[in-house]
Symmetry: C2
Subunit: 377 residues, 2 copies
């Protein structure tokens, strides 16, 4: 746990598709301000919402910072850069604590503590190192022996799934929840939590070559029904779901595709949109609103965090981590994108161009990926 001179981060200076605008830089780690903490990140997942933030689809305030970076030009040297570090979720540890932190924070920080980023709405997580204010991170004193990869997706994906099943409608045992993007990180947790809590799931995914394999995987997690999006209006699926109490639709796609789930909701059902991957609005018509009495809502777990105390956050995370520790809840499947080679004390950063290439291809792979900055935890 030596403080290095340089950190490495995935930074964008303008909105656009991440594969075009995200560049990896080595940046100078300035002296730690006395009211801040230096964090070394272990891992940071890539969530669909992170992509939307980089694209500029979400109307979030830009948090732009000036960095001193190693020039990627042939001549070398350093240059100034003003940009934003991508990402919203990471797990790291405390490397250094500013001298005034103890007097301004109610949290009790110690070097080596694991921390979860909580700055909102954009946490600038895709970096090996970062200075944060004490109120931007939560100390996780009890991590249940889990790995950083297991814990990393708790704040956004697992908590979104957990809260959406509890907060939107009062579900009864036996009720059905229909969701699209069922193979997403959130989707995988929804399937498992719903099963555990006595609800059934109808899981919508886009058709693909390895559909049978995906269906087996989701059923292995506890999915009751797995349906291709293009079959949602087929007579077979309509007949299959006609007598099922489908009360809640969870939607990360939005647009006309999401409306295909609304057709399967029972009257007075609710569709909650938590992502907008289609970038299209949902056509909510008067008959669907008035006669079918469907409610269209959004869900944003950041808002839940804002309205609740850190004690409540920790209570929820502890419940999730306990389930993971017992093997009752599997974390989302992710593909690691390493920013270093070797392991443990022998690890060293990869060549920056290699990392840049890996990061760029990550955004077009279609897989759930997680940046791994170090395995030395």
């Amino acid at each position: 746990m030596v403080k290095p001179e340089w950190g490495r981060a995935a930074i964008y200076t303008q909105h656009g598709n991440p594969q075009d605008v995200i560049k990896v830089y080595d940046f100078k780690l300035e002296a730690l301000p006395e009211d801040k903490i230096l964090i070394e990140n272990f891992v940071a997942p890539i969530n669909p919402s992170d992509v939307n933030v980089v694209q500029g689809v979400y109307p979030l305030p830009k948090d732009r910072t000036e960095f001193t970076v190693k020039s990627n030009s042939a001549e070398g040297g350093v240059e100034k850069l003003v940009g934003t570090i991508g990402g919203n979720e990471s797990i790291g540890r405390v490397l250094e604590i500013g001298s005034k932190v103890a007097s301004i924070s109610q949290q009790n920080f110690a070097v080596g503590d694991w921390v979860m980023f909580m700055s909102s709405p954009v946490a600038s997580a895709w970096t090996t190192h970062t200075h944060v204010s004490p109120n931007e991170v939560i100390v996780l004193k009890n991590t249940h022996g889990l790995s950083p990869t297991q814990i990393a997706s708790i704040k956004v994906n697992a908590s979104t799934a957990y809260r959406m099943l509890l907060d939107i409608v009062k579900l009864e045992k036996g009720d059905y929840v229909i969701q699209n993007g069922a193979n997403s990180g959130v989707g995988q947790i929804i399937i498992q939590l719903a099963k555990r809590w006595g609800y059934h799931t109808v899981n919508v995914v886009r058709g693909r070559e390895n559909f049978d394999q995906l269906e087996s995987f989701l059923k292995g997690l506890g999915a009751d029904i797995v349906v291709k999006e293009e079959d949602l209006e087929s007579p077979e699926v309509v007949a299959l779901l006609a007598d099922k109490p489908v009360r809640l639709a969870l939607d990360c796609v939005c647009g006309p595709q999401a409306m295909k789930m609304v057709k399967h909701l029972k009257p007075e059902g609710v569709i909650a949109t938590y992502g907008g991957m289609s970038k299209q609005p949902m056509p909510a018509s008067a008959p669907i609103l008035i006669f079918k009495d469907i409610t269209f809502k959004g869900y944003w777990v950041s808002k839940w965090y804002k309205k609740n105390t850190p004690a409540k956050w920790l209570e929820m995370w502890d419940d999730i981590m306990t389930m993971m520790e017992k093997g009752e809840l599997k974390e989302q499947v992710t593909t690691p994108i390493n920013w270093f080679s070797g392991s443990g004390s022998s690890e060293k950063p990869l060549d920056i161009q290699e990392v840049q290439n890996a990061v760029t291809s990550t955004f077009t792979s279609g897989r759930k990926e997680i940046f791994v900055f170090t395995n030395n935890y």
Copy 2:
């Protein structure tokens, strides 16, 4: 109160625009079944939703009946007709009571009692006479000395306005409600009830030649702000509403126009659609749902009636009628379309072609009209 041989009704045999498909017929009043009541209607309003039902826009079950009607052909005679009487709201009186009614109904009917139609979802109200089951009407024993015209719009318009202000969000005194179609029957009542209950209203109407006159009329009812729909996105209106706690949007238009109201809602606001005059869906986008946290709901007062007891209906109507009796609530302004000539005991039906012409032009007039079947009440 003599039972005539023939009634007169506005009937459609297929869906379409009312001016094309609604025809007026004299129909034979068959012998009263012993489990039914013969009603003579005084008046029946024409609501936008009635027009949508005739058009077939609303997916409601068709209630088709066989009638024996006087032929409108030159040869005269009678013919059989299968169709549906339009309309959903009327006030009439009991003319004859079937012999078994007292034993099958908990209501205490007497000849001469005023009644309100409650069959749902389509009440077949646009007729001088009709046979109804006792559970299809509510006896109004206390009508507060009001005229049939005053009472007639209570069931749909006044009650819709009343309930929407109470049932959708918990409004606090000083809150703002924005509504479109503000000059409609419902709109006029919303303005008055909101004022009475301590809320402010932003009233959206379509631009028109006599806008100033309409604005004065609505302000006379208690409107705080009256805005042309085409000005809703102007910098002046945006600035005017920026600091107003606009929590609820009431929408009878749907479609992209209604979304212009959503822009003025504060975060966590609700838009409730109770009509679909634009016949277009609302484009509910992910950022509006997730980040602005706007909820899109429908409102249908018929559902409130279904979920509540007649005692609750009468309690609400009594509150409304009391306000009207005291002059604290003005009924919606309507233009009478008479189906008879003369008044009191000297009245006689108009020529059927005159009535047909009046009914046809009614549906293209753009005014709020009310059919008046008799003034002899």
